[in-house]
Symmetry: C2
Subunit: 222 residues, 2 copies
DNA sequence: GTCTATAATTAGATAGAC
DNA sequence: GTCTATCTAATTATAGAC
């Protein structure tokens, strides 16, 4: 009960064993909402009742914090989509492949709804050239892009996937699958609906499967 | 040739009659690339060899500059899509309506390629609640959203548009149509292609018409 | 209307007590 | 490892000479 006891009424001296993860998750949200330049380390710390210098203690710099956040999110995405990787789909027939891809597309929509920060950060960074964009593209986006390419090409040849150039398809897919969650605050203002409601996510996944894999229903089932 | 003559080698004292428009266009680019918080008025001025206080002279504040930029861009979009407004499509049969909508979709893609700043600003702002988002949604996004709604519902009833909930369709369409231009720097790094090349834009528009208006080709022609 | 100088605030990072 | 205090640099906005 010193004289300055109530200057920071909620914050007391305390060690949190999970503080690194707590700070990282706060950073995801802030970087996603404001972009790298717009995000403030003070705000990231304040959001979880920590102090701004703790970020420089647990991470080397604001840039290193951003890198750790992106690594973490792409790690989660990789776990979610492990079954559509080329090593997993080798040897499947096109019908099985189509089913796997439809499931992957639905899970990608679910992931974008659950972790909108990944697509928010990507779309923020992708608007201007930077060292961060070069690193993120080379390290995470390109491997993801190349991983789904062979499956798409096969499904397109089989007449199951829409006849769209893969590079265009990639951006159509990412944009169409992620925007409602990237811009969830706008969705709520514009439509009065919550895009994170299971009904929205289900209908959204169904819609993308229907328009991007139009030959799926007609494909032979075995 | 005073002693400080070369401190600002390119900038000389000069009055530009079009300076307000020059500053506004510089602001579009900066707000699109960095978001509101990440954009700096110094950088906006420097980009066009002007001085930072000129922004406060010609616009009230950074916020007023942002508002003027958004008004300007939505004005351009309105001109581009005037023919798909409800007042223009009243009385058309569904086949004519489908043709108008396909053309509108292609022009929207062309607009997003030519003026990526509009969708960049929208996606930056839509990531977090703010007074700016509320104003932009109520003033510009909602009227646009409501204007294309009746046409879509009619085409969907006629079996020409994909059977997708309009609110979901809206975000699928905007995301799919704009992402390659919003994230053009990433597209170049990832694919080596330029999404603003006419071949890309044409193929992109064709793809969106094919997947969103799948009944167009089969529709009776008059 | 342009430009320099500067006020007031906030940013990321660091030092050092605890 | 936490926390306060503070450094340097950057921010938006304003005052006033030209």
């Amino acid at each position: 009960m010193q004289g300055m006891a109530d200057r920071n009424p909620v914050r007391q001296r305390r060690a949190r064993p999970d503080i690194r993860e707590v700070l990282l998750e706060s950073a995801l949200v802030e970087f996603g909402a404001k972009g790298f330049d717009g995000a403030s380390t003070r705000s990231i710390a304040r959001r979880v009742e920590a102090h701004q210098p703790q970020l420089n203690y647990h991470f080397e710099s604001k840039a290193a914090l951003w890198t750790a956040a992106v690594d973490y999110l792409f790690g989660l995405l990789g776990e979610e989509l492990a079954d559509v990787l080329p090593t997993e789909i080798a040897g499947l027939d096109v019908s099985q492949l189509a089913t796997i891809f439809a499931g992957g597309l639905r899970r990608f929509v679910g992931f974008a709804a659950k972790h909108p920060e990944l697509n928010q950060i990507m779309v923020h960074e992708g608007t201007a050239a930077s060292d961060r964009l070069e690193w993120m593209t080379a390290t995470h986006v390109k491997p993801f892009f190349e991983a789904i390419k062979p499956g798409w090409l096969l499904l397109r040849s089989a007449g199951i996937a829409a006849p769209i150039d893969f590079e265009i398809l990639y951006y159509v897919l990412i944009g169409a699958a992620s925007l409602p969650y990237v811009n969830a605050p706008e969705v709520r203002l514009l439509t009065g609906r919550d895009p994170k409601h299971p009904d929205w996510i289900k209908a959204h996944g169904d819609a993308l499967v229907a328009i991007l894999l139009p030959g799926l229903a007609a494909a032979p089932s075995g």
